[in-house]
Amino acid sequence: MLGYLARRLLMTIPTLLLVAIGVFALVRLIPGDPVQVMLGDAADPAQAAQLRAQLGLDQPIPVQFMHWIAKLATGDFGHSITNNLAVLPLILERFQVSAVIVLVAVAAAACIAVPAGLVAAWKQNSLLDLSVVGGATLLLSIPSFWLGLLLLLLFGLKLKWLPVIGYVPFTENFWQAAAFIVLPIATLTMVEIGVLTRMARAASIEVLRLEYVTHARAKGVPEWRVLARHVLPNAFAPTWTLIGLVLGHLLGGIAVIETVFTLPGLGRLLVDSIFARDYPVVQGCLLFTAVIYVVVNLIVDLCYPLFDPRVTVA
């Protein structure tokens, strides 16, 4: 198990190195630079050159890259160009916001989607099944930010049940924080329900076709128990993989939802930094995102044997 972990982590190094190179190259390919953004329309060339030198942006790009990598190796992600904050704490702070929303939303979505998919598969082609599939497909078809805007319109502006914008950390005021993130979570949950229900249903249909289900029934096992004990664990395994993928991706960027609900999350930090050409932050965010993706997938793989004993991590 530990050996497996070590091997997996070792295997991610080339990927992350590629990511780092790609990120760095991409960031430098983007036209414009942070100095111009900072100086705006009054960019005196001499001044710009001075600032560039101050930020180390006047050095050849390979040198800059080596500097960055060397610092990264010591865990130093550098400082933001726009506000001089250390990048890693900044990322971690923003990440908390995204992570809370994503984790709660995906968990909630899974709790709704998996039973719904299971029941739909059980009653395949019934009216119930049709409405579950139809509903899931509909949820899948709505642009997430539009859905978010509609929810805002309804609950925030028309009913005035929830605050429309802003964010307060949970550490500061739990209830207020909760009120701020209810809608983003609801939005994300609904979108993910669409994805996960369809997956859970498909997986359950596969499992329901298998003979061990008939075997269980032939032993006189009641239907609910057949579903709960025999179908669910086996149908959950592929869904779990999908949940991992979804988590991995969402944790890196729910920029759109964060923008709709004006949450200071990681996705928005990244988008804002791209627009500000804040190289250290963009690079840090993208790399962090990639690491999260890799780590989440690793965790998912490590958990997989819980659902499917055939898979061993060794």
């Binding site: 983007i30 036209p31 414009g32 630079d33 942070p34 111009q36 953004v37 900072m38 705006g40 329309d41 009054a42 960019a43 005196d44 060339p45 001499a46 001044q47 001075q50 726009t82 506000n83 001089n84 904050l85 900044l90 009913l159 005035k160 049940w161 929830l162 605050p163 429309v164 914008i165 802003g166 964010y167 307060v168 005021n173 209830w175 207020q176 909760a178 009120a179 701020f180 004006t262 200071p264 928005r268 804002d272 791209i274 627009f275 500000a276 050409r277």
Partner: protein, 520 residues
């Protein structure tokens, strides 16, 4: 309409109110403002940005400062006189001005400060203005007596006082020499301002507290000078990068002041009972830039045709929702030099525009116009300009870029046309200076007209208001005739405050002032 709070929301509010009450139990009055990013340093005019300037302006002062109408008024100097063919400025200092450490300011401190700014090691932002390529070189700084300072330049310039008063130059602040260590390294500002620096918690907030030993000027508050009567104990500049979070903070009462709001924000906040708005015209300038070296647009008739195809008033109205007025002049509305001449710009004239196009032989060749979505008013203006130009048969293709990419193109002069916004310039010469120059050496300049450059140079040299006015009038006429760009309007600075804040006023320069402000 009354807000019906949800239970969670209500509990949250109650808790917050309780916390706020406990927080104020010490009877200290606190004003909470928002910065969209942390300040870069406390060293005036060196490692800086707009946020840094805003904070530092509460702590330090210079010899002179801008008034509300962008004219120059005395600050630490009581008066000044010109001699030596306009090359020597002799400042008479105010009596009894105290530094935050209790020391009394003398001419010696002024000389020390100026020498520090002029030392290249300080990396003062405005050092280049006083080098050979700038407005004038400072040849001599002397203190004939403790209340007098004399500065001698190598040539006369009208821009000397406006430059040393510039907020981005740190107002060429007079600071006590203990602000730096023995090694010359910056420690913290010991200035003469109405506030002194209390605490800078990086990434979170900057606190300034009232300076009890402050001796205020007697004339009423104006710009960065006049009476600075501090009515709060402490001002906290909270670093809140997210504008919506700031807005929410304002609505929930955890912030008192939010500056630099956007037009859509205005629509949203107008209806909120707990909020008041301060809308002041600002000096920024939005317009359509043309690349006069472009094979197609080098023909002034085509540029003119575009200018005549649009209805500036209608655009401004649709874009700024009544917070700004049309202005085709390079001088901002509100400038003391803005007169009758400046109010004559372009009148929409479809027939004339079409005629010009025929003469120029324009046959629907596409004209690319770069625009951006960072500034919604720029974007909206470009959409409207495009549609109106379409009306006379001009084929403008919009190209949306992000702001940084657009700036890059702007600085390299690499565009056919672009919708652009210039930041505030406090002096009319500077307003023209940002547009005027030889493209060969300064590709970002839009107006490459030798006569215009010469007039600009003169306007910078002389101090006579009437003469300068006539120069600016002439430059305006040439500028309108050349159509290197179409100025559309100046911006508006939108600040939202809690209803409990009294005495706040915006001014032409888009930075807040928290003296004279009370919290009820």
């Amino acid at each position: 309409m009354r807000r019906r709070p949800s239970p969670a929301w209500a509990v949250g509010l109650a808790a917050l109110a309780l916390w706020a009450m406990l927080g104020r139990a010490g009877a200290e009055t606190l004003l909470r403002a928002r910065l969209n990013a942390d300040i870069r340093s406390t060293d005036p005019g060196t490692n800086r940005d707009a946020n840094t300037d805003a904070v530092v302006a509460h702590i330090v002062e210079g010899l002179v400062a801008f008034r509300d109408d962008t004219s120059i008024g005395p600050m630490l100097a009581d008066s000044w006189a010109l001699s030596n063919e306009g090359k020597t400025y002799t400042f008479r200092l105010r009596q009894g001005v105290k530094f935050h450490n209790g020391a009394t300011m003398t001419a010696d401190d002024v000389v020390w400060s100026l020498k520090r700014w002029l030392d290249p090691a300080t990396q003062w932002r405005c050092l280049s203005e006083f080098s050979t390529t700038g407005i004038a070189r400072i040849e001599k700084v002397e203190a004939p007596d403790p209340q007098t300072v004399a500065i001698t330049l190598d040539q006369p310039t009208a821009l000397f006082l406006p430059t040393i008063a510039r907020p981005d130059c740190g107002q060429t602040a007079v600071i006590h020499r203990d602000s730096v260590g023995p090694d010359g390294k910056w420690i913290a500002p010991i200035g003469t301002g109405p506030f002194k620096l209390a605490e800078w918690k990086r990434g979170q907030y900057v606190d300034v507290v009232r300076f009890d030993g402050y001796v205020s000027r007697s004339e009423p508050r104006t710009g960065y000078t006049g009476a600075k009567d501090v009515k709060v104990d402490r001002v906290r500049f909270n670093v809140i990068p997210d504008s919506s979070a700031a807005k929410a903070g304002l609505l929930s009462g955890s912030l008192d002041v939010v500056m630099s709001l956007s037009i859509p924000d205005l629509e949203d906040l107008k209806s909120r009972p707990e909020v008041q708005l301060s809308i002041t015209p600002s000096l920024s300038l939005t317009g359509i830039l043309f690349q006069t070296k472009d094979p197609l647009l080098k023909d002034v008739r085509i540029r003119r045709a575009i200018a005549l195809s649009i209805d500036t008033a209608q655009i401004v109205d649709a874009v700024m929702l009544g917070t700004a007025r049309p202005n085709n002049s390079a001088l901002p509305l509100g400038s003391p030099f803005y007169g009758e001449v400046q109010s004559h710009g372009y009148e929409q004239n479809i027939a004339e525009a079409k005629k010009l196009l025929v003469e120029a032989g324009y046959r629907g060749q596409p004209i690319k116009m770069i625009t951006n979505k960072r500034y919604s008013f720029v974007f909206d203006a470009s959409v409207l300009v495009q549609a109106m130009a379409q009306g006379v048969g001009i084929n403008i293709e919009l190209e949306v870029m992000d702001w940084a990419a657009q700036l890059d193109r702007y600085n390299r002069g690499d565009y056919q046309s672009m919708a652009f916004v210039y930041s505030a310039r406090l002096d009319p010469s500077l307003s023209f200076e940002m547009l005027t120059g030889p493209k060969a050496s300064q590709p970002r300049k839009v107006w490459d007209n030798p006569e215009g450059q010469e007039m600009l140079r003169q306007s910078m040299m002389i101090d006579d208001t009437a003469k300068r006015q006539s120069l600016f009038d002439e430059m305006h006429k040439r500028f309108i005739a050349d159509v290197p760009m179409i100025v559309l309007f100046n911006g508006a600075e939108l600040t939202a405050l809690r209803k409990s804040i009294k005495g706040y006023a915006g001014w032409l320069y888009p930075e807040p002032r928290f003296w004279g402000v009370t919290v009820e």
